[in-house]
Symmetry: C2
Subunit: 329 residues, 2 copies
Amino acid sequence: MLMGFPEDYNDRVKRINEYLMRSLDVIEDKRLKAAMAHYPAAGGKRLRPLLATIVSEAVGGKQEKAVPFGAALEIVHNFTLVHDDVMDEDDTRRGIRTVHAQYGVPEAILAGDALFARAFEIVSGTDAEAEKVVKLVEIMAKAVRLLAEGQQMDMDFEDAKRISSDDYLKMIERKTAVLYSAAAQGGVIVGGGTEAQEEALFEYGRLIGLGFQIWDDVLDLRSDQETFGKPVLNDIRNGKKTLIVVNGLEDMNALERKQFLKVLGNRKATQDQLRMARDLLEDVGAVDHAVMVASGLVAKAKDRLSVLKESKHKEALKAFADYMVTRKT
Amino acid sequence: MLMGFPEDYNDRVKRINEYLMRSLDVIEDKRLKAAMAHYPAAGGKRLRPLLATIVSEAVGGKQEKAVPFGAALEIVHNFTLVHDDVMDEDDTRRGIRTVHAQYGVPEAILAGDALFARAFEIVSGTDAEAEKVVKLVEIMAKAVRLLAEGQQMDMDFEDAKRISSDDYLKMIERKTAVLYSAAAQGGVIVGGGTEAQEEALFEYGRLIGLGFQIWDDVLDLRSDQETFGKPVLNDIRNGKKTLIVVNGLEDMNALERKQFLKVLGNRKATQDQLRMARDLLEDVGAVDHAVMVASGLVAKAKDRLSVLKESKHKEALKAFADYMVTRKT
C-alpha cells in the first residue's frame, strides 16, 4: 500500500540504519566508538542515503548499490554536526546532549575525525567499477571541502554588518545543499545513469537542498518546539542572518528595524521579545516570501527530473522534493 | 655530488612544498586558507612525501607520480597536528603559535577538517589507473581512522595506571607509524611494484615509523631546545608514558620510583626536578635501551628492502631508515 513519502521507505531507513551502525563496529576503542555513535544512534530521517538509493533506482540501477555512498554522506553529515556543536558551544541537539557535552571537547573533535575517515573507507569499498568509485570519492571530498567553506561563511556572517540574499544562498548552498547534490549525483553514478542525468540530478539535489534549509528557517519561526523537535525562535536568538532576516530587514521601517536588531543575536532575549521580532518578520511578509522562494526552488528541482523515464521512483523523487518544503520536523 | 640523506633531496622537498602550498589555492575564504596554511607554510622535513617518491623510484616508477599521494599524507599529518594541539591545549608548536592560539578554536577545528577534505581530493586526482587510485584512498582513509584510534589510546594512557611496552608500541604504531607505512605502500602502488614489494615496503614503513617515534622520545631527554627545535623534557612534564618511562619504572627501586612519579606529569615541575627525573631514567639504562630498540627496528626495516633490486634509490631508503634514528631534529 502506498502511503507516500517518506513513510513508504520506512523499511529502507531501517536497513540504512543497520548499515550505518554496523559500519562503526570496526572501531576498537569503546569510548571512541560510543562518541562516534552518539548522533547516528539517536536516529534521523536519513534523507541523504534515501535520496541516493531512490535516484539509483530511478536511473535503472539497484537501490542497494547506493547504500554505502549514501551512508557515507550521512556519516559526513553527522561528523559536521559533532564539530559544529563544538564550534557553536551548544550543549543540546534535538533533546540529547551534544557529543562534547557528554564526552568532552577532545573526544568530540576526535570522534568527528574518525567518522570522517570511516566515511571515506566506506566509499572506497563501494561495489562498482573503480572509475565510478574514484568519482564518488572526488564528489564526497569536494563536498566536505565546500561544507567547511560554508561553515566559515556562516561564522563570518555573525560579525558581518550587511549580508545580501545572494550571500545567504551561497552559504547554504555550501553548508546544506552540497550533501543533497552529492547524494543525487552519486545515485546516478552507481545506478549507471547518463552524464546528462548526472548533471540534472546534481542540480535537482542542489535545489531541494536550498529549499530544505530555507524551509528549516521558516519552521524555526512558525513551528513550536513539540512539533519541530527542537527549540524554536533559536535563529533569532543566535543572530542568524537567514534569508528571512535579510529580506525582512530591507522591508522594515527605521523604527521596526531598530526594535528588531535589539533582539537579533541577543542571547538574553525573553520569549516575548523573540515573538515580537518574529511578528515583525511576519508583518513585512518576509516569512511568506521565504516560503515562496523555497517552493519555487523545489518546483525548479522537479523540472530537472525530465531526464528520467516515468516510473514510481521518479514520482518518489517528486514527493521527496515536495517533502523538503512541507515537512513539519 | 652525493651528500647523503636528506640533503640529496633538498630540491625535491622544494617541489613538494610548492605542490603542497598550491593545493590550498582552491580555498576561497582568506581566513580559512590562512589557518589551513599555518603549519604547512612553517616548513618541515616532508619525510612522508619524500618516502613515497623514493619508494616509487625504487620499484621502477617515476617519483613525480607519488607526489600527490605523498603530499596528501603530509596534509593529513598537518591536519592531525592542528586538532591534536586543540585537544592538548598547546599554545606553541616548534616556536610558532598553534593554529587555535592564532585563529581561535572553531577556526582550528574547521581548518583541520578542510585540510582533511583537501587531502582526499588530491588523492582522488592521482594520475594512475582507477584501481590504484581506489587503493590509495582506502589506504589513506584506514590510516586516518587508525590515527584517531592512536590518539584515543594516547589520551586514555594519561589516566591509566599501568601501561605495558606492548601498549605503547601499539599506540605509536597507530599514532605515528601508519603514515609511514601508508607512504611506502602507496609509493609501491603508484610506482608499479609487485604485491610482495607492497607488503614488504608497508612493513618497512611501519618499522621505521616506530623507530622514528622512539627516537623522538630519546631526543626529548637527550637533546637541548636549540638543537631539537622544540622544548625538551616535555614528555616528562606532560606525563607521557613513553617506552622509556614504561621500562624505566620497571627497573627503578621503590624510592627512585616514588621520586620519579612525583615529577612525571607535574606541569609545575622545575627544570632541576625534570633533570633529576631524566637522570633516573638514564641511570637504570632505560634511554640506552630505547636507542637499542629503535636501532633494532630500523635494522629489521632495512632487511625488508631485499625485495628491491640494487639501485641508488634502494640505498637512499637505507639511508632514510638510518636517518630516522640518528637525526638531531
